[in-house]
């Protein structure tokens, strides 16, 4: 960390999240609006920890049915085959395209789980005022933000399989109830990453510094 580094908050300044303009509000607690773009100014995102926790917990609850319930049901004359996300990965693997199986496994199973664990860890570390590893934790947050949208992969796979395979009565595919939960996990974790304020990671260190100095 740079010695003598000063954050905007310590200098009594607020940075607009939209247009990045620095303003010096009269009261830091009620910064008002950005004079340039009119967006509401916030020193830190309001209730960031609470909102992010709520979204992470909701996503974690949805994660269970998303993996247990079938995401698609293939119907032919006589048979009806329900397939879960893991089932889809196994199908891709056994049909010989293991690179795709790996992509789906990573995007649909490991990424959502990893995001939940990563966000949970970030929230706990901020709440406990952890000092070290700020750079690494910021990098983790950035990864969660970047990789989040790729979990939507399975929702698109199901949508277009369902849309295309409609050859009644020979063969058709209908969506299973798992898709909804899966889409919910992706959207909720994306929103959770958006509400989390990464500046909180660094605030514990800044506070310590100002107490020492």
């Amino acid at each position: 960390m740079t010695v003598g580094a000063l954050t905007a908050a310590q200098a009594g300044l607020v940075s607009c999240e939209t247009c990045k303009l620095l303003s010096r509000p009269v009261h830091l607690d009620e910064p008002g609006h950005c004079p340039r773009c009119g967006a509401a100014l916030e020193l830190r995102r309001v209730h960031s920890i609470q909102y992010t926790w709520a979204l992470v917990i909701a996503a974690a609850i949805c994660y269970i049915p998303a993996n247990m319930l079938p995401v698609m049901v293939s119907k032919t004359f006589a048979t009806s085959d329900a397939e879960t996300i893991i089932g889809g990965v196994v199908f891709l693997y056994t049909s010989g395209s293991w690179p795709l199986a790996l992509i789906v496994l990573v995007a649909s199973v490991m990424v959502p789980l990893g995001k939940l664990i990563a966000l949970g860890y970030l929230l706990i570390s901020v709440q406990r005022g952890m000092l070290g590893g700020c750079r690494e934790r910021t990098r983790l947050y950035r990864m969660v933000e970047f990789i989040g949208r790729w979990s939507m992969l399975d929702v698109f796979v199901d949508t277009f399989t369902v849309a295309l395979v409609q050859l009644q009565p020979l063969m058709s595919v209908v969506p299973g109830p798992g898709v909804l939960f899966f889409a919910a996990v992706v959207v909720l974790t994306m929103l959770a990453a958006e509400t989390f304020d990464s500046r909180l990671i660094w605030d514990a260190g800044s506070k310590m510094e100002s107490q020492d100095g």
Partner: protein
């Protein structure tokens, strides 16, 4: 660093760690990263307004093709079927998954359409400064839409779906699919070639609200009111 002088032209706070720092004048193609957390603070693309405008116009045309043309066709035992992007979401709706259909429609049609339309408006307006205040508002919405426009993800999703179905039937990629691949490349290209700071520099200030002087703003702070 400890005394933010009001005259400093490029003082800014890192969006990710709130560290105050001065951004030196960047060379064309240069990038400034936060000294503490490494976040990309500023970049100076070669042509921050004209090139994204050209790319956005292209994207708008390709977007229409991608949504109008069939994405892929399927033929099995003498029967044909084809689907478009909207058709896929609509089928999901018919099969009793309205919420999933809405999410897919949002990520595949609404968010990219809004992004392209808003960027087009902002970039066209940016040719004649000073910009009215609502241009800033549009830009804000446009930037919010950006992560939800998921053509890259959708392309991979369709690829996986194609390979799954190829076991059962003959599948042919349609024009819509190529258009979508093009969009998957165009949308990130717009984001990379565009510099939002260039637009904010030209936007007329909103008001003389509760916030007082902005020490980090180029010139406009004092003369703006």
């Amino acid at each position: 660093m400890s005394d933010p002088a009001p005259s400093s032209p490029a003082l800014m706070a890192c969006q990710e760690c709130d560290l105050l720092q001065r951004i030196p004048p960047l060379p064309v193609g240069g990038r400034a990263c936060c000294a503490r957390c490494g976040f990309g603070l500023a970049a100076r693309p070669t042509d921050p307004l004209e090139l994204p405008l050209a790319l956005t116009l292209t994207a708008a045309i390709v977007f229409i093709v991608a949504n109008a043309a069939p994405l892929m066709g399927l033929s099995a035992v003498g029967r044909q079927a084809s689907t478009t992007i909207i058709g896929g979401a609509y089928q999901m709706w018919l099969e009793g998954e309205p919420i999933t259909a809405a999410i897919v429609t949002f990520c595949a049609v609404i968010a990219p359409a809004c992004y392209i339309l808003l960027m087009l408006t902002v970039l066209l307006a940016a040719r004649q400064p000073p910009l009215p205040h609502w241009v800033g508002e549009l830009l804000r919405w446009g930037l919010h839409m950006q992560p939800w426009a998921m053509y890259d993800v959708m392309l991979l999703g369709i690829l996986v779906a194609l390979i799954k179905i190829a076991e059962l039937a003959q599948v042919d990629p349609g024009i819509g699919m190529y258009a979508m691949a093009l969009l998957a490349a165009l949308l990130p290209a717009i984001a990379v070639s565009f510099d939002a700071r260039e637009v904010w520099k030209r936007v007329a200030w909103a008001d003389d609200g509760p916030s007082v002087i902005a020490p980090g703003d180029p010139g406009g702070a004092e003369s703006g009111r």
